[in-house]
């Protein structure tokens, strides 16, 4: 039986989080009243001229450098023509011949720990289209042009992905990267990151790629994975029956988990690309590139490596704490303030992050120095770890500005390790329970537990059990 291999390439559209649009000063405004962030330029009034946005270029350079992609020091904009209500110019400004960068790679890590290098074909700058809405009026399609002109980067991979899981891992890694770089919120639900998934199947060992089908505008990682699974099975089934199929553009329906044709690529659009005469080429100097390189933050995989190798956290802890830049920054910031790494990692993963429940790290209501004192209570064995988590942490959430030591005191959970205090307690216990003490000395060893219990009760549970044990033992054997 013939074995098939799934081959996938991605085109990922990433919306930049600039203040203004790619070629004019309209504000970016997800969810604003329709057609309130538009201008004569985004509405394509005659005689208006586009002007590139410096930050669109800079953010593109950031992503290019972090993927080791080669920057085209001269890159330029072209017009891609199509006629549709979401684009009043009847063309999109994009980069065809001279994109901002070419080549590079992104390494992905799969669930089994294996790694794979996914090559980048190129990345280009372009503008987003407006939105058309078809279901609020029976007679008309409605057009909202707030999104028209939003700066995009389109990243095109080589066909290096071979499964739904790899596609999912790639999108997740890219999403994490753009968030680390601070160039996009990477939110797929909002459409800030959208994927076209090109899928083909070919017999294993064959170099010939099968006919390719493109699934458009996939809007979640889960759907991307599902689309790959469905589409590869559909294509294999056709090939098994000896049928051929054309290049197709498909739509993925998350409800049914199926793809359906949008239009045949056979009758491919003729976009009539040509250089946009309104926009001179973008020239980028080496010093500008160096400057951006300097500004690059530590990248997610570098941060994770540092957590594992320098801080000696395990794989699981490093993965979670490096997942988000703000979480990682918080962690390293507290380390600098001499927090115990393992205790801090535990506290963040088991208490702080669940408490924030997806909200930003900065929304934590407890000051850093308070967290540090909380951790030092555990580290110095003033409060046992389990008591600290179960009693002191909830109290701290309710009183975020109170010193943890005071809270522990009022909760009566500060461990007493002071030999003087403990031996005084033991003395009292022995004199109040002289009968039992005598029994122990005569060999009735199980009375020991009773005496320990008495001592712990006297200390209101706050004496350190190991110290009490040792002190009682010493006292009884004297």
């Amino acid at each position: 039986m013939v074995q098939y291999q799934t081959v996938v390439g991605l085109e990922v559209h990433i919306q930049m989080n600039t203040y203004s649009k790619a070629f004019c000063g309209d504000a970016l405004s997800f969810g604003a009243e329709p057609n309130t962030h538009v201008s004569t330029i985004s509405l394509a009034h005659p005689g208006t001229l586009p002007k590139p946005n410096k930050e669109h270029i800079n953010k593109g350079l950031k992503l290019a450098l972090s993927l080791n992609s080669e920057v085209n020091k001269v890159n330029a904009f072209d017009r891609k023509h199509y006629y549709y209500a979401d684009s009043p110019k009847a063309y999109q400004i994009t980069q065809d011949r001279l994109p901002i960068c070419v080549g590079g790679a992104l390494e992905i890590e799969l669930a089994d720990g294996s790694k794979k290098n996914v090559r980048i074909h190129h990345m280009h700058m372009e503008e987003d289209a407006g939105k058309t809405i078809h279901d609020i009026d029976t007679q008309y399609s409605m057009v909202d042009l707030n999104r028209a002109g939003t700066p995009l980067l389109e990243l095109v991979t080589e066909p290096d992905l071979n499964s739904g899981d790899e596609v999912l891992a790639f999108i997740a890694q890219l999403q994490q990267l753009v968030r680390y770089l601070g160039i996009s919120d990477g939110d797929m639900e909002k459409g800030s990151l959208r994927c076209d998934v090109n899928i083909s199947v070919n017999p294993v060992g064959s170099k010939i790629l099968g006919e390719r089908c493109e699934v458009k505008n996939v809007n979640s990682k889960k759907n991307a994975k599902a689309a790959v699974l469905y589409e590869s099975q559909r294509q294999i089934a056709l090939l098994e029956k000896g049928l051929t199929f054309n290049k197709q553009t498909l739509h993925f329906d998350p409800e049914s988990g199926r793809t359906s044709p949008m239009r045949d690529k056979e009758d491919a659009d003729d976009y009539r690309y040509f250089p946009d005469p309104d926009l001179p080429p973008i020239r980028i100097s080496q010093s500008e590139i160096d400057e951006i390189q300097e500004l690059l933050p530590a990248l997610p995989w570098e941060v994770k490596k540092k957590m594992k190798e320098q801080v000696k956290l395990n794989e699981y802890d490093s993965t979670i704490l490096s997942s988000d830049k703000k979480i990682a920054d918080y962690f390293f910031n507290l380390l600098e303030q001499k927090a115990n790494p393992k205790l801090l990692a535990n506290l963040m993963i088991n208490k702080i992050l669940p408490h924030l429940n997806g909200k930003e790290m900065s929304s934590i209501e407890i000051e850093e120095d308070v967290i540090i004192s909380f951790l030092s209570l555990i580290e110095n064995e003033k409060v046992s770890p389990s008591t600290a988590y179960q009693k002191l942490w909830p109290a701290l959430i309710d009183n975020p500005s109170k010193p943890p030591k005071d809270l522990a005191q009022s909760l009566g959970i500060l461990q007493i390790k002071d030999d003087g205090i403990i031996s005084k307690i033991i003395e009292e216990v022995i004199s109040e329970n002289s009968v039992q003490a005598e029994e122990y000395r005569k060999g009735k060893k199980k009375v020991f537990g009773f005496l320990i219990g008495q001592a712990m009760r006297k200390s209101k549970g706050s004496a350190a059990p190991d110290v009490v044990k040792k002190a009682l033992m010493d006292a009884l054997h004297n």
Binding site: S141, V143, D144, P280
Partner: protein, 97 residues
């Protein structure tokens, strides 16, 4: 390149124009003349010449800082539209792309 009826009909489709028969004849003639001119240009050997994408190629492009500028309010935005239903521009209903 041959300017035949099939090409004219493709161009009509791409440019959303409907030409009358006599216009088609005229357009065919014009296009043939234009292509003739390009054929003439093609006689020059440009193998070692860098393509000139932009006339002011030596000038660095005018680039904006990323600041929000003047926008049109919804009323003004819709004012020049042939048809609108506040706050939207409207177009005849068409199937989803």
């Amino acid at each position: 390149m041959v300017i035949d009826d099939a090409l004219i009909s493709k161009l009509e489709k791409l440019s959303r124009l409907e030409l009358r028969e006599e216009e088609k004849v005229k357009v065919k003639e014009d296009l043939n003349k234009m292509l003739g001119m390009f054929d003439k240009l093609n006689e020059v050997d440009t193998n070692d010449v860098e393509p000139l994408r932009y006339v002011l190629d030596e000038h660095s492009s005018a680039i904006r800082d990323d600041v929000v500028g003047e926008e049109l309010d919804n009323h003004k935005a819709l004012q020049n539209a042939e048809e609108s239903k506040k706050p939207f521009f409207v177009v005849p209903k068409f199937l989803k792309k």
